[in-house]
């Protein structure tokens, strides 16, 4: 577990933000094996024994298990509160950054009735572009070209088209 593996930029948040608190499962995929399943079963058996044993009262058993659960949740809670780009202190700024391209494309498309998008090196732009153009219909869609770096929403209008991102 490394702090650097947590999605700390708008782009990594977009791609992996909901696939895990950090990118632990993504970065090492596929490396799962029987050992993970065996460890799960062994620890589960220990939990089952602790839940069933008469050596401790139900109350003590419950307190111990809840305490372990709380401790185990701490690394994830820390990542959510201090490391990810959507942590409370940064969420508003990350949201503004993530919506910047959407807002630019939507405004352009609405002015022209609707638009169609050409992805030229910015696959990560696809979801924002789709949301920006959804629900708009017209007979002559204007053109939106999204190049590498377009997520930063550095755009200019050229010959009736909206071009975002770095020139090739």
């Amino acid at each position: 577990m490394r702090d650097a593996d947590c999605p700390a930029t708008t782009e990594t948040l977009l791609v992996d933000g909901a696939n895990g608190v950090c990118r632990d499962v993504r970065l090492d995929a596929p490396s799962g094996h029987a050992g993970h399943a065996l460890a799960l079963v062994i620890v589960a058996a220990a939990v089952a024994w602790w839940m069933s044993t008469a050596r401790v009262s139900a109350r003590v058993g419950r307190v111990v298990l809840v305490s372990i659960a709380v401790l185990a949740a701490t690394p994830g809670a820390y990542a959510l509160l201090a490391l990810r780009a959507d942590r409370p202190s940064e969420r508003a700024a990350s949201t503004r950054a993530s919506m910047a391209l959407h807002d630019r494309v939507r405004a352009f498309a609405e002015r022209h009735g609707c638009a169609r998008v050409e992805l030229e090196g910015c696959d990560a732009c696809m979801p924002s572009a789709r949301l920006a153009l959804a629900g708009l219909r017209c007979d002559a869609p204007a053109r939106v070209e999204l190049r590498a770096g377009a997520l930063d929403a550095e755009c200019e209008e050229r010959s009736g088209a909206l071009v975002c991102g770095r020139a090739r």
Partner: protein, 411 residues
């Protein structure tokens, strides 16, 4: 900035009114705070089904009418609702206190569907050349969000519609869970870090998991209200995602298989849940086929079988993603073992097994997503809410068996 949940008020009120009317017409005689969650879900479900196809609404209505006849009312005290309301209010605050805009990939994709509007979405989803991504997915979830967003096309309203659907799923789960376990269950789920991410997103995996709780807990309780909650939850879970019908059928099947002496009552309740799940699932598949739209992502091709070992390995590895899950999975599995896979533990095992089989039976894209790590935690998110109930139930049973022993009571 907050999520404008108030935009969902007209749809919630209208759905509640429709659900209340059905309650009166069908003589369900639902009572208590949970009754309103059920009425809202029923009203919304009927309208959504009608948009998908009028026959779907009729079929759903018939199933719900049969529920009123098949499931006898039980003499139950109306449960205190304070715990459920505290949980629902707390969840509302958590979900609302954020900028009303998406941050994660699939959120933007789902919200694009919401922005299309109900009729345009349906038309485009059933057009082989239609511009809908992902193609051929069920649309009941998106239709619900559109209605809850009052048909508005701004991003904030779409986020509010998605949040309202999540809260409705939570309310249904709370209506089905026994009163004494609601708060503990919610606290248990709150100890899962990744649940906080999904709760504040427009992803459907957490709502699916909550609806599965409503099904399992509703069937386990067996009262008329809880079975109706389970049935309408089954409609929504199957209408939101293709794997939703797998959840519903697995939970209904486990309930029937383990019914023991109450087999006849369990068969009726299980059949109702299965029927309410099959209505949207079959309707949608028939409509897709009739319009020549091919479901690529979730085609039954068995592509995962060739990589079964690797996929199962990835699922197992994900259970040790401690930053996402804490120790949720060893605790859940331990609780199942401790209770000898009885009750909700058996339901959860059935849910898990069925989902694994569905994953292995799916197409190339599904297998690829499982192997690249982007699907496995969302797979587990659909199982997390019921897993939390398994743990809480096991701890409860331990406490009550110790008390019984102390009092000289032995089962």
């Amino acid at each position: 900035m907050i999520v404008p949940l108030w935009v969902a008020a007209p749809a919630l009120v209208a759905s509640a009114a429709l659900g209340w009317g059905l309650d009166r017409a069908l003589r369900w005689r639902l009572e208590g705070a949970g009754a309103w969650a059920i009425r809202v879900a029923v009203g919304l479900g009927i309208v959504v089904a009608a948009i998908v196809h009028p026959l779907a609404a009729i079929a759903l209505g018939v199933a719900l009418a049969v529920a009123g006849r098949w499931i006898a009312p039980q003499e139950e005290e109306v449960e205190p609702a304070r715990g459920a309301l505290v949980v629902l209010a707390s969840a509302t605050v958590v979900i609302a206190l954020r900028p009303p805009a998406p941050l994660y990939w699939d959120e933007l994709v789902w919200l694009a569907k919401v922005r299309m509007g109900a009729l345009a979405l349906r038309e485009s989803a059933l057009d082989p050349a239609g511009d809908v991504i992902p193609r051929a997915y069920p649309i009941a979830g998106s239709l619900s969000e559109i209605l809850l967003a009052a048909g508005r096309d701004d991003v904030g309203s779409g986020v509010a519609g998605a949040a309202a659907l999540l809260l409705l799923a939570l309310a249904l789960a709370l209506a089905a869970i026994p009163q004494e376990r609601r708060v503990a269950w919610a606290l248990g789920l709150a100890l899962v870090p990744l649940a906080w991410v999904h709760a504040r997103s427009a992803y459907l995996d957490l709502p699916v998991g909550l609806l599965a709780v409503a099904i399992a807990a509703g069937l386990a309780r067996g009262s008329r209200a809880s079975v109706i909650a389970a049935a309408i939850a089954a409609f929504f879970v199957a209408g939101c995602k293709d794997e939703g019908v797998v959840h519903a059928l697995a939970l209904a099947g486990a309930h029937v298989a383990l019914a023991g002496e109450r087999r006849r009552a369990a068969l009726r309740a299980g059949a109702l849940v299965a029927a309410c799940a099959l209505v949207p699932a079959i309707t949608w598949r028939v409509l897709l086929a009739a319009h020549g739209v091919h479901a690529e992502d979730h085609a039954l091709e068995g592509a995962g079988l060739a990589d079964a070992g690797a996929i199962l390995g990835e699922l197992a590895r994900a259970t040790w993603d401690v930053r996402s899950w804490g120790l949720a999975w060893p605790l859940a599995l331990g609780a199942v073992i401790a209770t000898r896979a009885r009750g909700v533990g058996a339901a959860w095992l059935a849910q898990l097994s069925a989902l694994v089989l569905a994953l292995l039976a799916g197409g190339d894209r599904l297998a690829a997503f499982a192997l690249d790590g982007s699907l496995v935690n969302r797979f587990w998110m659909q199982l997390a809410p019921l897993a939390a109930l398994v743990v809480v139930s096991a701890l409860d049973q331990r406490g009550s068996s110790t008390s019984n022993t102390a009092l000289g009571i032995h089962s």
